[in-house]
Symmetry: C2
């Protein structure tokens, strides 16, 4: 391994000078600098990151904790995080908790005392004391997609607004009997989407039928079964708003299996705009989250926190949504008139 000593010897200067040349923080004579840079190049020298870390207390690495890789929302988000982190010369360290709080605490503890300068977290559990603890120690921490009230920096989709606009679209297209297939209510994002739905229905003075509001649906298999159940219980909504695209896929499958058409008999609206949504039959109308953007913003935020001594107060950044209109929602006003 080539060390700073080798470079110093080759350049005929002291190791201090090599270090100063490379850091750029302290002036070095032009001639000296050139000799050093030439030696660095000739030898292919790269500073030892452990020694630098030990000295500086910085690793230039950022940790990312996500619950799993199954959800189709994470890849795009990681993409944004990865690009941004690399752009700023950081390395990305990844951990996955499978929603296991013990594991999460363990990983955070490890990373904390190891090789990261900041942390991005995308899990959400009922007990978040360990995260608040980190925050209290002023450790650079940002939540993505998930949030913890207003206590910790977070970058999230404007879920309420998204669900509000989506529901308004359905209403404007003449749908009245809207079924909501919602995720786990313990998650803030699903509470917000529910609130957005309610807000739009109230504004339009439409009735929300309790029997058509189903919470705690977690996957496309779940929503498929639940939709079959809706039919079996004798309900027949004219539209279904699924608060995630995978849920929408399950619902489409159920509707088709029962022999109904989309959007002819029942319209389907999703939330997410994952890649597959353009591809299903019929293509899904949905509320697009900018996962890549969300990733970018969260990474920029941690880096900002890392570089600032001051104690910023937490910022909750709402990334706007976009309505993507495809064929799974029709226009009842036209058909019936």
């Amino acid at each position: 391994m080539i060390t700073i000593k080798d470079v110093a010897r080759k350049a005929g200067v002291s190791i201090s000078t090599v270090s100063r040349t490379l850091s750029g923080n302290i002036p070095v004579a032009d001639e000296t600098r050139n000799k050093v840079l030439q030696a660095v190049k000739d030898l292919g020298y790269q500073p030892n990151a452990f020694a630098q870390g030990l000295r500086n207390g910085k690793s230039r690495a950022i940790g990312l904790i996500i619950p799993n890789f199954r959800s189709l929302v994470f890849p795009q988000m990681i993409n944004g995080i990865s690009d941004t982190v690399n752009k700023h010369g950081y390395t990305l360290v990844l951990s996955k908790t499978e929603e296991n709080l013990m594991l999460e605490k363990e990983y955070i503890d490890n990373l904390r005392h190891k090789l990261i300068d900041g942390l991005i977290v995308s899990t959400a559990t009922k007990d978040s004391s360990h995260l608040l603890e980190l925050k209290k120690e002023k450790f650079p921490l940002v939540l993505v997609i998930r949030r913890l009230e207003d206590q910790v920096d977070a970058v999230i989709t404007d879920n309420l607004q998204g669900a509000f606009e989506g529901t308004k679209l359905l209403i404007s297209r003449g749908y009245k009997d809207i079924c909501l297939m919602n995720g786990k209510l313990e998650l803030d994002l699903y509470r917000c989407r529910y609130a957005g739905f309610e807000k739009a229905m109230h504004e339009a003075e439409l009735e929300i039928k309790k029997e058509l509001v189903r919470h705690d649906i977690d996957s496309w298999e779940d929503s498929y079964r639940e939709m079959i159940r809706v039919f079996d219980e004798g309900y027949f909504p004219d539209a279904v708003f699924a608060t995630s695209d995978p849920k929408a896929f399950g619902i489409m499958k159920a509707i088709k299996e029962k022999g109904y058409s989309i959007p002819g008999d029942i319209a389907v609206l999703g939330f997410d705009n994952i890649e597959m949504s353009a591809l299903v039959d019929p293509p899904l109308t949905t509320i697009a989250q900018s996962f890549y953007q969300i990733g970018v913003r969260s990474a920029e935020r941690v880096i900002k926190l890392i570089n600032s001594k001051r104690n910023y107060k937490p910022v909750i950044e709402n990334v706007p949504v976009e309505l993507i209109i495809r064929q799974s929602v029709g226009d009842k006003t036209k058909i019936e008139s």
Copy 2:
């Protein structure tokens, strides 16, 4: 930050003893050990990973380089890698190259001199000199899904066998006029799948129509367009073998748009078994790759390489495939008899 000195003071011993107690490599009196462990616990001491890294030349971190997060095969694979790496007390460092060779070289260089003990790589470019270089330096390196002849350790799907079995299934179901929608021929895995297809066709003494073999198809959008082109050119295969599930989705979309039925008019066979494949309409018959398993094996392999001084010769591990039979392939022999 709590250091080994604090622990030593609290336990009333020297820092050497604390270190020895924690490492477990060198005998320590029971009584002493207990005092130390108690102090460690009381103080919540965690050794500084930089200091350890500097001293030991080991980081207990493993790097992973993938081309992108778009492909649906990576999440499951990363999942397997992540679980395995963590199980062995390692941390996972992630980089993504967007198929950019310059970036790839840069990241490898960075990681190499930084914080990783071993590297898993899933990119494949024409110029792999930098990987062979690493291998020559005896740096622990494993390729996944991709391979570099027999020179570097690799964990891959048995692509030839998979394509062979898939094609045989089509043939056994009475399909004869089979269209192959294949990926980039510059990738070994697509050459192997092509070879498996050819082998099955030859064994069955069926003709491979050149016009029905299309290579270098890269996405579902590509395969959609190419399938439309096949129809527009006046061909009408009775089955299409797409060498990846996303390609199969594009093909299904094209077939449906042209008003044909699957598998009634045309059967579709995929390769991958990504999660979505069970969900499309009709559910896709496909050749399942065990991405999770592949991830696990590759991680186990790097760790083995890291822990062995000896110079293992490269092992190419073929992970078996599984035929997943769903509704996108019918049975012509029954229909026509």
